[in-house]
């Protein structure tokens, strides 16, 4: 064993040295400089209930009317702004208008001499004068010039005659209301507006509910054998008028099957009938309590009392 202890110590030393070297290498290799990554701002997300959302979007009755700009036609394509009908009219009218405008556009001093020389020569031919003829010839020459000018005139309308335009055809074929509007996202407003008719929170307030429950539990006399520990339950559909009275007798929606059931439901119906009118329900929310489902649970209605 003695001869063995020396190489063991030697190899142990070598092993330790090797480990230290490897660890040093790891220290160099695995040292990561903390990068200056910008802290990402966290987004806080609030969850809102449907009730909250409805109350946010609920309108205010006396809100100023939103100023709506005059409806603009839908721009299917930029630079074809005219409605189809107008284009069609113009094409029909153009030839007549153009001839007039072309005549008007001509320089005024020139056409005026035209008719006069044309008319004048004929009456003036009897008193024949060589000078006059010479003048006439001159004037004729002058007359011919403007005529050559006027010739391009009638050609111009021909140039302006409607060419085939696919866009105009498309507009002619388009039978949609030209005043239809685009409902763009920015058209939505965040101002207080009259709001949606059903935008209110579709719930009754807590004090209304508790008042209703208190009222019913005070009116209700449970049948014999029903106490707060009974497992009997029933729910009635109650139809109410605006003044809180019953529009028609309550109807049973569901009830637990039980020998006590019929008596239980009858007692519940009696309670609802004897309790009316339910004046604690505010008429502003009539839409919400026009049709109510009342749950009769002895544990809730009798447990408190």
């Amino acid at each position: 064993m003695k001869e063995q202890s020396t190489p063991m110590r030697g190899s142990l030393t070598i092993s330790i040295i090797g480990h230290v070297m490897v660890l040093g290498l790891c220290l160099v290799a695995f040292t990561i400089e903390p990068t200056e990554a910008p802290a990402i701002p966290t987004m806080t997300v609030d969850t809102i209930s449907i009730k909250d959302f409805n109350q946010l979007t609920q309108g205010v009755k006396d809100a100023p009317k939103l100023k709506v700009d005059e409806p603009k036609p839908v721009a299917d394509k930029i630079d074809v702004p005219k409605p189809a009908d107008q284009v069609a009219d113009k094409v029909a009218d153009k030839p007549e208008i153009k001839t007039e405008t072309v005549a008007k556009q001509e320089p005024k001093p020139e056409p005026k001499p035209d008719p006069k020389p044309a008319d004048k020569p004929k009456p003036k031919t009897p008193d024949y004068k060589p000078d006059q003829i010479a003048d006439l010839l001159k004037k004729d020459a002058a007359k011919e010039q403007p005529k050559t000018d006027t010739k391009p005139g009638p050609e111009k309308p021909a140039q302006n005659t409607p060419k085939f335009d696919a866009d105009q055809v498309a507009q002619l074929l388009d039978h949609r209301d030209p005043r239809r509007q685009v409902a763009a996202a920015d058209a939505l407003n965040n101002q207080a507006s009259v709001g949606a008719s059903n935008g209110a929170a579709a719930q009754l307030s807590q004090d209304e509910i508790s008042a209703l429950r208190a009222r019913i539990s005070s009116c209700w006399s449970p049948p014999a054998g029903v106490d707060s520990n009974s497992k009997v339950r029933a729910s009635l559909a109650v139809f109410l008028r605006l003044d809180g009275s019953l529009a028609r007798p309550p109807e049973m929606v569901e009830a637990t099957p039980s020998p006590l059931g019929p008596a239980f439901i009858e007692s519940a119906k009696r309670a609802v009938l004897s309790c009316q009118p339910f004046t604690m329900l505010r008429p502003e929310h009539y839409q919400q309590w026009k049709e109510l489902q009342l749950d009769f649970d002895p544990k809730e209605l009798l447990g408190g009392g």
Binding site: Q4, M8, S11, L12
Partner: protein
């Protein structure tokens, strides 16, 4: 970068997220630290044993080869015995020396009973083989233990590290990476050290076990051969 540099670099901003291994170790939970240190020591010991055994087996193989060459070279066994008995080497030489010593003792004592001689020689050689194998196998159990238990020890450190990160979540009521990451890094580091210690240990254990088996077969083969020769000698003397 030396260790001292890292220490001095860490010292000013210990709370800042410095991510060196040293920092990782220094801020770990004490359980994880213990596990890491233990596994590091295991790894050091495993490699020391591996080095030692490699050298030992190399020497055994070489001396065995030398001895067999000398044994079958036709030299007189007395001469061989005299040269070897002064400094018995490992492996087959030791077997030969043990057997020859028993043989000589039987003759020098003038004990004429050859009846038990062969059995005695066999016994002596068996003992010598057992001693040699025990010598070769010593500390191999450490390798086996580290190889099998290392990953589990590392896992233990991992569990402790994960617990640390969950505790820091609970303490800061925050699940951001900055809160969780140190504990997880610590945990993974413990696993890594466990594997680093265990994988070489397993490999070396398998290697050395097969080596021990090979040497044992060689010893037994030689013992059988030598016993046959000696028994022939004994039978001739009778």
């Amino acid at each position: 970068m030396t260790l001292a540099d890292i220490v001095s670099a860490d010292a000013p901003g210990l709370t800042s997220s410095n991510l060196s291994l040293f920092h990782l170790f220094w801020h770990a939970h004490w359980i994880v630290e213990t596990v890491m240190v233990g596994l590091l020591l295991c790894s050091i010991w495993v490699w020391a044993i591996a080095l030692n055994k490699t050298l030992l087996f190399k020497r055994i193989r070489r001396s065995g080869d030398h001895f067999e060459q000398a044994f079958w070279s036709g030299r007189s066994l007395e001469e061989l015995y005299r040269s070897l008995s002064a400094k018995p080497e490992h492996s087959t030489g030791v077997l030969f020396v043990a057997a020859m010593r028993e043989w000589k003792r039987s003759f020098e004592g003038h004990a004429r009973s050859f009846a038990g001689l062969q059995m005695r020689i066999e016994k002596v050689m068996d003992v010598a083989i057992a001693r040699e194998i025990e010598h070769m196998e010593s500390r191999l159990l450490v390798l086996a233990t580290v190889g099998s238990a290392g990953p589990f020890i590392g896992l233990f450190g991992t569990v402790a590290g994960i617990m640390t990160s969950f505790q820091s979540i609970a303490a800061s009521q925050n699940t951001s990476l900055a809160v969780v990451a140190p504990g997880i890094a610590e945990a993974l580091f413990a696993t890594a050290i466990g594997l680093v210690a265990a994988i070489p240990a397993t490999i070396f254990y398998n290697k050395f076990t097969s080596e021990v088996n090979r040497q044992a077969q060689r010893l037994e083969g030689f013992a059988d051969e030598f016993t046959a020769i000696l028994s022939r000698q004994i039978d001739e003397r009778e």
